[in-house]
């Protein structure tokens, strides 16, 4: 089923706030997740796992670009692009 950008963004934000920010605080759409320390290397694996399971997509590792998963907006774009809805 096609998901719109707002639904995807809501799920991504909820996951990051819940799993990496102890359920507290504000997360801006363009906040740099890695540089700010919100997501570390283990968190990166967790993020990929969340995306694959939640949005039923499968990554070929050679197509992953870290910079394209560094903000909420870029994560959402990657998901939508992978699902062919952009």
């Amino acid at each position: 089923m096609a998901e719109n950008i707002d639904e995807v963004k809501k799920k991504v934000k909820e996951f990051i706030i819940q799993d990496f920010m102890f359920g507290k605080g504000e997360l801006k759409d363009e906040e740099l997740l890695f540089e700010s320390g919100i997501i570390d290397s283990l968190g990166f694996i967790k993020l990929l796992s969340f995306i694959e399971k939640t949005f039923n997509i499968s990554f070929n590792m050679s197509e992953i670009v870290i910079e394209k998963l560094n903000t909420v907006n870029s994560i959402v774009n990657t998901i939508l692009s992978k699902k062919g809805t952009t």
């Binding site: 890695f34 283990l42 990929l48 499968s58 590792m61 870290i66 560094n70």
Partner: protein, 381 residues
């Protein structure tokens, strides 16, 4: 769902056991004592096709499936007592060939994979540094861009195969201001000015697998040596680790199975009082534990390999297999020593070497503690 090996897989396993028993074991006690790598054994593995078993045929590989590969590795582990040699082969395949296959340009693949498959080139991968084992953010080695080249500065330690390697995959920081996206991977050839390999490091186990430090003193490499995109080294490393954690312990399943067979045979002839010791529950329970470990290990690794065969993520399964097999291989070695009693403690019976070799498996490719962190994180914690 099918838990059996097909005819082809049975043949592959049998052939792997034969290779190991006939060509890889001679002189192992002496090589272990001296800490000596077997080039003859390496070549025998390459002639069999082991180094290239998962590589495409166009690069000289056998293009086997992941499930076929673990069947072969289990067979090798069952037959081969030179665990260090097999560790070196695994490190070569998983740390060097797989990243080249997954992230290399066509030019890079054509340049390196044929030699890595036929064993004429030996590969090594260098991530760990003296001040950081599992902490990849702590990496100090850096690569500075300059006039179309990268200049590598820094050092790596505990690098498997380094003393004999022809091709190194080096992880270095290309942007110190960035965290996850500041790491890149480079292909560096032996003999590159500024690259120095240190003296072999003496180890407790896996002594026939050579290891040393590697130093980079303004080591100048072409920009074409970058493997994958600049700043994407974490992805290259993460992919390599996922594969490594699945496959590197497949041979340990074979080792555990060999120890089990040895235990069954030994306890049927060894007497204590009027009975052979296999009549005592204390022994029977150890053997039951050993059998269970083999079966669970095999299932864990087959599931992870099956996921990769279907191009699915297997980070959690890889960590579970790595953790369970490494810890339980140590337990089976310990049980064997107890079953053999005083003989088990003697070098001649070769169990103390198995124990020393097995202990390393709880440390390399991420310690057991790191595997637990990954499993916990991916379980929703």
């Amino acid at each position: 769902m099918d838990f059996s090996l097909d005819t082809n897989q049975q043949g592959l396993k049998k052939a792997a056991i034969e290779l190991a028993e006939k060509k890889l074991n001679e002189g192992i006690a002496e090589r272990d004592r001296k800490g000596e790598f077997s080039y003859e054994g390496w070549k025998a593995c390459a002639d069999f096709g082991l180094q290239g078993m998962m590589m495409p045929k166009k690069y000289g590989g056998m293009e086997l499936s992941t499930l076929d590969a673990i069947v072969i590795l289990e067979g090798i582990g069952f037959g081969c007592k030179d665990n260090g040699l097999i560790f070196s082969v695994n490190s070569h395949i998983l740390g060097c060939e797989i990243p080249l296959l997954h992230f290399g340009t066509e030019e890079q693949k054509e340049k390196y994979l044929p030699g890595l498959c036929d064993g004429s080139l030996i590969g090594a991968t260098a991530m760990t540094e003296a001040e950081g084992g599992s902490d990849i953010f702590g990496i100090k080695t850096c690569a500075v861009k300059s006039d179309g080249f990268y200049i590598l500065k820094g050092s790596k330690t505990f690098i498997t195969n380094a003393p004999v390697a022809d091709v190194f995959l080096i992880y270095a920081k290309t942007d110190t201001s960035k965290k996850l996206s500041g790491l890149s991977c480079f292909i560096v050839e032996k003999g590159t000015p500024g690259l120095t390999v240190g003296k072999p490091i003496e180890k407790m186990g896996l002594r026939t697998s050579p290891m040393s430090e590697v130093f980079f003193d303004n080591c100048k490499i072409r920009k074409e040596s970058l493997l994958g995109d600049e700043g994407n080294g974490l992805v290259v490393f993460g992919d390599s680790m996922e594969w490594e954690r699945i496959f590197i312990l497949a041979s340990c399943v074979g080792i555990m199975d060999r120890l089990l067979a040895q235990a069954v045979k030994y306890t049927a002839i060894r007497k204590s009082g009027n009975n052979t010791i296999n009549k005592y529950q204390a022994i029977m329970h150890k053997i039951a534990d050993m059998k269970l470990r083999v079966e669970i290990s095999r299932l864990l690794i087959q599931k992870a390999a099956w996921l990769k065969m279907h191009s699915k993520s297997a980070q959690m399964e890889a960590s579970m297999a790595k953790l369970y097999i490494s810890e339980n291989c140590v337990k089976s070695c310990r049980d064997m020593i107890q079953i053999f009693g005083g003989y088990g403690y003697m070098v001649e019976y070769e169990l103390e070497r198995e124990m020393r070799d097995a202990l390393a498996s709880t440390i390399y490719s991420g310690t057991s503690e790191i595997q637990k962190n990954i499993i916990a994180a991916l379980s929703g914690l």
